[in-house]
Symmetry: C2
DNA sequence: TCGACTGTACTAAGGTTGCCGAACAAAGCA
DNA sequence: TGCTTTGTTCGGCAACCTTAGTACAGTCGA
């Protein structure tokens, strides 16, 4: 069932395309904040969706080497492979997570602007 | 024709998914190495492909904010938006480019190993 | 002005991805 | 021994991505 790549089998294209999806990037942000989660708890934090949909995303993240996923009792625990990613791609994960935070803040600020004042004449 | 996002319209998911494709990552590596290229020269360096295919990739890179593309005479010059990307996502591009180099080196080393000695009993 | 050159626009096939519901498997609890 | 919880697997469907072929538009040189 597992299919985790070894550290040296991780390819940056897989990592980037795995993280190029809003849902999966959100997952990684959640996992980065806390330690281990089971699938359901992350699913809850994202406000979505069908379990089978997430199973799909777990696989993409797992097979690209971004997360560990190991069964524990009847749950399936998820955690970021931070050590491996940092070893292979120093600074990558930090830059991505910081970037995601920045995007979110910028988005939030933009929303406030467009409610309070008039938006600066953007189409 | 253009459709370049402003610096503050760039979203990290778009950047990541744009760079999550081997072809486009290769393009960015080429652009990072040199200054300005026209489309054809990059196409040549990649050893591939139909021009219309690359036009598609230029658009993805352009609309995600990764490259500038501006006409000059009958050519269309391409360049990395390094300043914008570095401003929005400090360290991201460096990490990705270094990672791509690392992957390539590792791959090359692995090929040598499996020719010279026997591969270490993988699958 | 004509022709070569550079790249885009349009179109289409084939594959991949994302999403979901239903059925299933395994672990824990009563 | 059943029932519940937790996720997975499977099948199907729509949307998107990648690739390429063909036709076209703009620019430069002769």
């Amino acid at each position: 069932m597992s299919r985790h790549p070894d550290r040296d089998q991780i390819r940056i294209e897989s990592v980037l395309s795995a993280l190029g999806s809003p849902v999966r990037l959100a997952v990684v942000r959640v996992l980065d904040a806390g330690g281990e989660h089971n699938c359901g708890s992350v699913l809850g934090l994202l406000g979505i969706t069908a379990k089978s949909t997430m199973t799909h995303h777990w696989r993409v993240l797992r097979e690209s080497g971004v997360i560990w996923q190991h069964p524990s009792g009847r749950e399936n625990l998820l955690s970021l492979r931070r050590d491996d990613l940092d070893a292979r791609y120093p600074g990558l994960l930090d830059a991505i997570l910081a970037g995601a935070d920045g995007d979110e803040a910028l988005e939030k600020a933009r929303r406030l602007m467009s409610v309070g004042g008039r938006d600066r004449s953007e189409t």
